[in-house]
Subunit: 348 residues, 3 copies
C-alpha cells in the first residue's frame, strides 16, 4: 500500500512518549528494519532484531522506550511503550485509506430482482446479481460481481469481495467478511449408488454464517443435506478451505488454508487447524483442540488435545515418531545384526 | 431451506401406509430426531436412533411400519416401509421449491456474441458472457455471471451456477451440473526448461465432460496439451478438485474434495478417491479401485484394490502400519534392551 | 481444439527435411500414435513408441529422420530432425487459432471507473470492472468479468481469463497470464487473540507479480501484512495454489497444483515444488531445491537439496524409509522372535 504521511501525521496517530531526531521524508510504506529505505517506516517488534536498528535506512522507526541508540541524519525515532501496538494503530489508519468507506447505493449495472430488499445504507457494486427475495443489510458492501441467490439473507456491515456467491436461502449474519471467490451453499456431496450409477441425494439444507466470521478467497462451504451447515461466531477461515455439508464449526475457531472438513463433522469452539488438514466425516474435534499442518483426523479428538500427523496422533508422540522414522534404516540394520549374532551363538 | 408444507401436503408426497396422531403445525424444515423442534419434520433412518423418537420434538416423524410407540400431543407419525426413501421423495419436492424451473430466455444484461447459438428453451441468466461460436443446448440453465468461451459446446439440461467458466472449444455434454466457480479448460501446466527459463508448451487440446457429471465449487479442469482431458459419464467430483491436462477419468467415479490428479493419469470406471488424495502423473488406477483420504498414489493401482497412505499401500497393510507406527518408540527401546543383553551375554 | 489444416499447410509450418507417402485428409486434431484416427496428426517423440507407428491410423505422422518404415495408403510421413520441436511449432500455430489476437478496445458492458487509465491498445472484455486509479497496460487483454481494484497496476501484454480479481494497489508486471478465478491480494490470514476473540491484524501490504509469471485457475495470493508478497520473474504456478502473506517466491520457480506456502516463507530462485506440498511459515527453501508431491516442509531446505515426505526428508532417505515402512509388520515380528529366543536362552 502506497500512502503518504508526514512525520507529524504519523506522530498524531501513534502518539509517541518521546522522539529522537527528525526527518523531512514523507512515509510511503512500512518495511522491516533490514529492507527499509528512505521514505519507509519501520519498527522494533522483537528484541532479536535490535542490532538491525542502527543500520536501518528507514526514515521513521518505532522503538521501545528503553532503546538508547541515536538516529542517523534525516531519521526519526518514535519511542513508545509498545511499538507493535503503535504499528497496528498505524495499519488500521492505512487500511482505512486502502479501503475507504464506499458511498451507499446500488450501482446502475447491478441486477436487482424484483422483491429483493437492499438496505438504503448498503453499497451494491457494479455487476452484482441479487435474486428474488434476497435481503442485504445495513451498511453491507458488495464490492463487485457478487451473487446473492433467491431468498438468501445477508446481515449488516458485511463486506463481500468480487465474485462471492451466496446460494439460495443461505444466511450470513453481521460483520462477515468474505474474500473474492468464496462460494457459500454449493450442494453437499451426497449420492446413493443404485443400478451402477451414483444417484444424487438432494441437498436442501442451508449454510448459516454467524457474526464476525471471515472467510478467505475461493473457499467453499456446502449447504446441508437438510438442516444447516454452520460456521460459529468469530471463526476465521483461510483461503481454499472446504467445508462439507452438515458440518458445524464452533465459535472462534481458526482454520488455515487448504484444510478440508468432511460432511457432518463438528469442531467445537476455539479449535485451531493448520493448513492442509483433512478431517473425516462424522468426527468431533473437542473444544480448543489443535491439529498441525497436513494432519489427517479420522477419529474424535479430545478437548484441548494437540494432534499431528496422518493418521493424527498426540503432538509429542508424533514428534517422537518423526524422529524415529528417520532412524528406521538404522533400526532394520540393528535387528539384522542381532539376528546374525543369535544365529552364530546358537550354532556354537 | 425454509418451506411451508401442511401435514396433508406431506402425506400426499410420501404416501404413508399408516398414520398415528395429528399435528396442526406446518412443516418448515427437516431436522434430526434430536435437533427437531415444533414445525420440523424428522425421520428414523437408522435403527440405532430409535430411542430418540420418543423424546423428539418434531411435528411429523417418518417411521418404519413396525415402530410401535405413540406420538406426543400435536405430533404426527407417518408409517412407511422405507422412511429414508420417503425422505428422499420429500427432499426432491423441496429441491424443486428451492430451485424452481426458470423461464426460458436470455437476460437483457447477458452478453451474447454474434454467432453464438442459444437454444430457445435455454435460460441464460444475468451478466453471463457467451463468446462467438459457442453453443448452449435445450433447457440448459446458466444461473448468472457464467462464461462460455469461443466455440465451446454446452449440451442439454445442464445447470451452471454463478461464475462457472468454460474455456474455448471445450465440450460439456448433457445433464451436467457445475457448481459456482468451476473452471473448465484452463491451460495445462506444461513448460520446457530452456536457457534458464520455463518456456510454455502450448496447451491446445480441450476438455470433454460427458453426460450426468456433477462438479463441485471452484474445482479446476485443465485442457489437454493436445487431444482431450475427459471426465466420463456419471462421474461426480467434489469441491476444489484439480484435474490435470490429458487426464482421463472413467465413468461413475467419485472424487472427493481437494483431490488432485496430475497430468496424463487415468482413472478407470467406478474409481473412488477420498478427500485430499494426490495422484502422480502417468498413473493408471484400475476399475473400482479405492483410495483413502490424503493418500498419495505414485504407482499404478490394480482394479478393485483399496489403498491408503503416502505412499499409498494396500488398505489392510497401511492400517497395520499405522498401528505399528504408534509403537515405534517402544520398538526402538526393545531393540536397545536386546542389544544390551547380547552385549552382557557376550561379555560373560 | 478443432482446426483444419491441409498437408501442405502443415508442411509449411514444420518444414520437414523429407516426406514419404501422401494424404488427402485435412488435419483436424493432434493425437497419440495409438489413439489417432483419420484426420489426426501424430508424432514419434519417444523411441519407445516406435512400434506403434506402423499401426497408427494418423493421416500425418511427424517422424525422426532415421525412421525407415513406409506409410499406409493415404498416410503422410514428415521426417524431421526433432519431431517434438516440430510439434511445438504446430501447437503454437494452433494456439494462435484458438486464441486469436483480440481487437483493442473496451467492451461497452465493462465498468470503468473515472480515473482508471486503460492503454489504447488494451482489450477490456465484457463485464470487467476497473476501479478508480487502476492502470491497464499496452496490449493487455482482460477476457471477461475480471476485476482490477482501486489503484492496482497491470502491465503490458498480460492476459487475464474470466473472473480474475486483482485487489487494490497490487502490481502485476508484464506478460503475466492469470487463469480463470485467480485472486491476487486477498487479505493475509492474521489475527491476534485477545479477550477470547481473534482480532484482525490489518493487511495493508500488496502483492507484486513480476514479468512472465503464469498462475493457474482459482489460485490465491494474499497481500502482505505490510510491505509485499512477491512472485519472481518467470515463475509458473499451477491451479488451486495458496500463497500466504509476505511470502517471497524467487525467479523461475515451479509450484504444482494445490500446494500451499504459509506466511513469510521464502522460495529462492529455481525451486520446484510438487503438487499438494505444504510449506510452513517463516521457512527458507534454498535455490534449486525440490520437494516431492504432498511433502510437508517445516524447516529450511538447503539449496539444491531434493526432499520428500511429511516431515520432508532428503529424497533418498525418504525413499528408503518408504520401503522399510512396508516391512514394519515384519520387523515387529522379528523383534518378538528375538525376544522369545533370548528369554529361552536366559532360562537355560
Amino acid at each position: 500500500m502506497q500512502v503518504s504521511l508526514t512525520a507529524d501525521e504519523i506522530a498524531a496517530i501513534v502518539r509517541p512518549q518521546a522522539t529522537r531526531g527528525a526527518t523531512t521524508e514523507a512515509i510511503r510504506t512500512i518495511a522491516s528494519l533490514e529492507d527499509a529505505a528512505a521514505g519507509d517506516l519501520s519498527f522494533l517488534g522483537n528484541a532479536k532484531y535490535k542490532p538491525q536498528v542502527a543500520s536501518s535506512k528507514a526514515s521513521i522507526v518505532l522503538l521501545p522506550l528503553d532503546y538508547d541508540g541515536e538516529p542517523a541524519p534525516n531519521q526519526l525515532f518514535l519511542l513508545l511503550e509498545r511499538p507493535s501496538a503503535a504499528l497496528a494503530q498505524l495499519c488500521i489508519r492505512i487500511e482505512q485509506a486502502l479501503w475507504p468507506k464506499p458511498a451507499p447505493g446500488i450501482h446502475p449495472t447491478a441486477c436487482i430482482a424484483p422483491g429483493a430488499r437492499i438496505a438504503a445504507s448498503a453499497t451494491v457494486g457494479p455487476l452484482c446479481v441479487i435474486e428474488m427475495g434476497a435481503v442485504v443489510g445495513e451498511r453491507t458492501h458488495l464490492q463487485a460481481q457478487a451473487f446473492v441467490g433467491r431468498g438468501a439473507t445477508v446481515g449488516d456491515d458485511c463486506w463481500f469481495m468480487p465474485g462471492v456467491a451466496i446460494s439460495a436461502e443461505c444466511i450470513v449474519r453481521n460483520r462477515v467478511r468474505l474474500h473474492a471467490g468464496v462460494v457459500v451453499g454449493a450442494d453437499g456431496f451426497g449420492y446413493e449408488f443404485s443400478g451402477g450409477r451414483h444417484v444424487k441425494v438432494p441437498q436442501v439444507g442451508i449454510v448459516v454464517i454467524d457474526d464476525d466470521v471471515e472467510i478467505g478467497a475461493n473457499s467453499t462451504l456446502d449447504r446441508a443435506r437438510f438442516s444447516r451447515t454452520v460456521i460459529g461466531e468469530g471463526t476465521k477461515i483461510d483461503n481454499l478451505v472446504q467445508i462439507g455439508h452438515n458440518v458445524t464449526v464452533g465459535r472462534h475457531c481458526i482454520i488455515c488454508a487448504q484444510t478440508g472438513i468432511s460432511g457432518s463433522s463438528t469442531l467445537e469452539d476455539y479449535v485451531v487447524l493448520g493448513g492442509q488438514v483433512g478431517v473425516s466425516g462424522h468426527i468431533r474435534v473437542g473444544r480448543g483442540a489443535k491439529a498441525g499442518g497436513q494432519s489427517g483426523i479420522s477419529a474424535n479428538v479430545e478437548p484441548g488435545l494437540s494432534v499431528n500427523g496422518t493418521v493424527a496422533l498426540p503432538y509429542m508422540l508424533e514428534r517422537r515418531i518423526q524422529v524415529l522414522r528417520k532412524r528406521l534404516p538404522d533400526l532394520f540394520k540393528r535387528v539384522e545384526v542381532i539376528e546374525e549374532e543369535l544365529k552364530k551363538s546358537s550354532a556354537q
